[in-house]
């Protein structure tokens, strides 16, 4: 369904992000928390749920959970664990130890690069499940002949972060996941590797007529393995729901499975009824009540988070914080270069533009960590002072990013020197003198002829002129 057909509709999204914590061991036992080992070699009585086994909570997992909670501006509070009871073969105990109505972190928020605040309902601690592989039927669950289970991942610590349904549209949902991921990586709690499954996203999607205050019926969508899948799944699901509602049918509240291959969501009605989790407090664990010192310490030791980094860049460059260039620069870890420009009294606005456009383009996804701050700042100074034209500066910058070096040396090597102002004025006067009829029209008010004269100046200087300075000189001549 096209974007035009969805006009008039609003897609409302809430996201549940499961974040694996970077602890050395699992949540309730001392088995190593590692990815990619031989199946069932990182298990013990506890994470296998053998009869008689008991859980003991990992202090480091709690610390990471507190860091996440403080980074998301949550209230960190005393909490307990609950059992979530259901039968599934990747769960050794056929219940999951999680948190229910009293989670460790509640009522927080984060700010997107666009400036919009998204509510965080809760961020609680729970254990991960094992992994099932479906054999036969192309690996898809429905046609499988049988399955195999590996419990290495069972018991790995997770923090589940639940957003309020404040997101509108697939693009904003992606932005949220990217921002959340950056925050989680900054806290040190996560390695952010979606491709390894350390960050997993489920979404709740509903639609409503744009401008309406009531929420539509939502569906939960699972099995999106990348940001791209997330975007595609939301777009598909929104269209599906709009089509139903426009046809006068009701959206059924259910869990749906995203199928990457055929690009659709499918209803997951299994033969059991809706899950009744029969939550009750976990009797094998005691209350978790981190003291004030622990929470304050965690908050104080947080590094500067992305939102604050964006604020600093925006302030330095005197631009609104929601400017896309600001988000780009922080996302690519180039904000240190803006700070360096400020410190060296180079033009921060110019620095920002060059970083967000030329440098970002040149990096093409690679890290910007190699760019030498003093070299970059020197280049900004050179452009700022007119030693290089903007076009020349851009060229030097490309080389600087690709190979490093000294911008002055690079410029000299390319034969760049901007014309000194006096020499430029002489060229402008020559061009005016050589084209009296056009000059008369220009001074008479025909501004379009500025381009004619600039072109002549450019030709006369072999492209080495600072064309803005030339334009200024033309106007001066006209008025003076």
């Amino acid at each position: 369904m096209s974007a035009i057909a969805l006009a008039g509709w609003e897609t409302v999204i809430g996201l549940e992000v499961h974040c694996e914590l970077r602890t050395r061991t699992k949540l309730f036992c001392g088995c190593p928390n590692v990815f990619g080992e031989e199946p069932n070699t990182r298990v013990c009585p506890v994470c296998l749920g053998l009869p008689g086994s008991l859980p003991v909570l990992n202090r480091q997992a709690v610390d990471y959970a507190i860091r996440i909670g403080t980074a998301l501006h949550c209230r960190v509070q005393p909490s307990i664990f609950h059992r979530k009871n259901y039968f599934y073969p990747d769960m050794p105990k056929d219940f999951q130890i999680s948190q229910y109505d009293i989670p460790i972190n509640a009522e927080g928020w984060l700010v997107l690069p666009s400036g919009k605040r998204i509510g965080i309902v809760r961020a609680h601690i729970e254990e991960d499940t094992g992994k099932t592989t479906h054999i036969g039927g192309g690996g898809r669950i429905h046609q499988a002949g049988y399955s195999l289970v590996d419990y290495n991942r069972a018991g790995v610590p997770l923090v589940e972060i639940v957003s309020a349904p404040d997101l509108r549209g697939a693009e904003e949902a992606r932005e949220y996941v990217e921002e959340l991921r950056a925050i989680l990586v900054a806290t040190g709690a996560s390695d952010g590797k979606m491709e390894e499954g350390s960050l997993r996203v489920d979404c709740n999607v509903s639609v409503r007529v744009a401008g309406s205050a009531e929420f539509g019926t939502r569906c939960e969508i699972k099995n999106m393995n990348s940001l791209r899948s997330l975007g595609r799944a939301i777009a598909y699901e929104a269209a599906r729901q709009v089509e139903l509602v426009e046809a006068g049918e009701a959206v059924v509240q259910e869990t749906r499975h995203w199928d990457e291959a055929d690009g659709r969501t499918h209803s997951m009605r299994s033969k059991e009824e809706a899950f009744d989790y029969r939550y009750f407090p976990e009797p094998d664990l005691v209350t978790l009540a981190p003291d004030e010192a622990w929470v304050t310490g965690a908050r104080e030791h947080l590094p500067v988070l992305p939102a604050e980094r964006r604020a600093r860049v925006a302030e330095a460059a005197c631009v609104p914080v929601s400017t896309e260039a600001v988000a780009t620069v922080v996302r690519l870890d180039l904000d240190g270069l803006v700070a360096a420009a400020v410190a060296a009294k180079a033009d921060p606005g110019l620095a920002l533009r060059r970083l967000a456009n030329e440098v970002a383009g040149e990096l093409d996804g690679r890290s910007g960590g190699d760019i030498e701050a003093s070299a970059f700042v020197r280049l900004v100074h050179m452009e700022q002072g007119g030693e290089l034209t903007p076009a020349q500066a851009r060229t030097v910058l490309k080389t600087l990013v690709a190979q490093g070096g000294d911008p002055a040396v690079i410029a000299a090597g390319l034969g760049f020197e901007a014309l000194a102002t006096g020499a430029l004025a002489a060229v402008v006067d020559q061009v005016i003198a050589a084209n009296p009829r056009e000059w008369e029209r220009y001074t008479g008010g025909d501004d379009k002829l500025a381009g004619f004269f600039i072109g002549k100046v450019k030709a006369a200087t072999g492209g080495n002129a600072d064309l803005r300075a030339a334009n200024d000189l033309l106007r001066q001549r006209r008025s003076g």
Binding site: T23, R24, T25, C29, G30, C31, P32, E38, P39, N40, T41, R42, V43, C44, P45, L48, V56, L57, N58, R59, Q60, A61, V62, P78, Y86, F87, Y88, D90, T129, T132, T133, H134, I141, H142, A144, G145, Y146, S147, L148, V149, D150, Y151, K222, N223, T255, H257, M268, R269, S270, K271, E272, F275, Y277, R278, L285, V286, T287, L288, A289, P290
Partner: protein, 100 residues
């Protein structure tokens, strides 16, 4: 909760618990469970809304473990007890539904 326990209730609960009951068992269990619940009517009648629940009697908090690795089980020992094994994993019949 004054409603008496019905056969449907018991059948539903049996499904939740992954138990199959014969018709005879269903009858028998329904009447047995109903009489236990009836006996529990004495606590049902208590007015104790203001009394806090005791989840368990141990007044401990913050029992935590250091993030230090411990030895794992030997995989052969684990899988030796398994009903069905393939490629170092537990083999099970096909799963028809997704995890919740």
């Amino acid at each position: 909760m004054a409603q008496p326990l019905s056969k449907q209730d018991v059948a539903h609960v049996a499904r939740l618990a992954r138990l199959a009951l014969s018709e005879e068992e269903l009858e028998q269990f329904t009447s047995q469970l109903a009489s236990v619940l009836e006996h529990a009517a004495d606590i049902e009648a208590l007015d104790i809304a203001a009394v806090p629940p005791t989840a368990h009697p141990v007044p401990l908090s913050n029992v935590l473990r250091e993030d230090e690795p411990r030895p794992c089980l030997d995989r052969d020992e684990v899988l030796a007890q398994a009903p069905d094994v393939e490629s170092g994993r537990f083999r099970i019949p096909r799963i028809l539904g997704e995890a919740p």
